[in-house]
Amino acid sequence: MAETSLQDAVKKFASDLAAKVNTFVADIASLEVYTFTTSPDQAAAVFKGPADFANLSIEARAALRAYTKVAFEGDTVVWVPTDANGEVNKSVWDLHQTVVKQAMENRAQMIKTVGDAAASALKALGVAGG
């Protein structure tokens, strides 16, 4: 009984992670980094509510200030933030660049760690004949 329930738990874990690994190519086809700002009076609603970034700009609760998309084949799309006079807003831009760097580092670590975890769970099932 305990073995069956344990096997089910490991199977579900392995299959969910394997599903993630299956979408691996699509998921890593590009890396996207969005930087939004929000006004202080909207901050409480934006920060406390569920993270629904797709609708933030539409609802005017937050403004997209910078965006970077790095495609797997090397194509890069960058939106640079500017002030009212058309000058690049350096503080937002520096901030955004730091996040892009952090995102790229995190991606490499996360993919390796999740891959290792999925492989070890699948191995556990294989040994158990699951």
Binding site: L6, K20, E32, F36, N106, A117, A124
Partner: protein, 252 residues
């Protein structure tokens, strides 16, 4: 040291109320809100960092917590090495020579062997195995949840939210900032995100350490049901090593 807080909601580390001595687990609220306008609680695991106004004090706190997470990572590496040593020693391992988490682990694994010469496992041993089993299953659910959901990180400085970042499993970042936020506060949020992501990675890595360790032990100890049955005991071993390392740190 100034007041601060590091908490994580939407995640439970079974059998513990903190993660690496850094993150306090916030239990899921089961209450119902009667305020229709109240924002829904985030479904994603949320890492919340509260820091004091002084940038120097906040930096010092983040550095201390970063050190604690690195210590946790070292403890995980040590657990991995100790499991590998046990796996290599196999049946030649001497109970008498072992103490602490190793002795407990081998005792638990021996109760899984039909040829065990120590008699049938007692009620207490069975109860402990069932508890470990429940905790391991719950832990797997937590890790699955972390991979399938965004990690949401919020940083508060002197009670004011300065930044929020959501990170997907492949590293897509979405950040929201309050306009005019000081660059010092931005740096603090970056560091908070770094700590949360390092913790998430360590959490996921525990699965690999437990599963790989169980494989080595199951093979050398010839446990029926293989490593699957050994997983809960090995899971407890890893947690015991983390606790042991934490105790050593607090005595220094």
């Amino acid at each position: 040291m100034a007041e601060y807080g590091f908490s994580v909601s939407g995640v439970d580390l079974p059998g513990a109320n903190d993660l690496f001595g850094v993150w306090t687990m916030v239990p899921k609220t089961t209450g119902v809100s009667f305020d229709a306008n109240a924002p829904a609680a985030p479904a994603d695991p949320t890492w919340r960092v509260q820091l004091p106004e002084s940038a120097e004090a906040a930096q010092a706190i983040l550095q201390t917590q970063g050190l604690a997470i690195r210590r946790g990572e070292s403890a995980l590496a040590q657990a991995e090495q100790r499991l590998a040593r046990l796996g290599h020693a196999g049946e030649s391992v001497s109970f008498a020579a072992l103490a602490g988490p190793e002795a407990e682990l081998l005792r638990a694994l021996n109760t899984l062997q039909p040829s065990v010469s120590f008699g049938l496992p007692g009620k207490e041993a069975i109860g402990e195995q069932l508890e470990n089993l429940a905790q391991w299953r719950s832990f797997l659910d937590q890790v699955r949840n972390m991979v399938t959901h965004y990690a949401r990180v919020e940083t508060e400085v002197a009670g004011v939210l300065v930044g929020q970042t959501s990170v997907g499993w492949t590293g897509d970042f979405e950040s929201i900032w309050t306009p005019g936020v000081a660059s010092a506060s931005m740096r603090l949020h970056h560091q908070s995100v770094h700590l949360a992501l390092a913790s998430r990675l360590a959490f996921i890595r525990m699965v690999t350490i437990v599963a790989t360790g169980a494989a080595g032990l199951a093979l050398t100890l010839s446990i029926p049901g293989g490593q699957l049955m050994a997983l809960p005991a090995v899971w407890k071993f890893v947690r015991d090593v983390l606790q042991e390392m934490s105790n050593i740190k607090s005595q220094v």
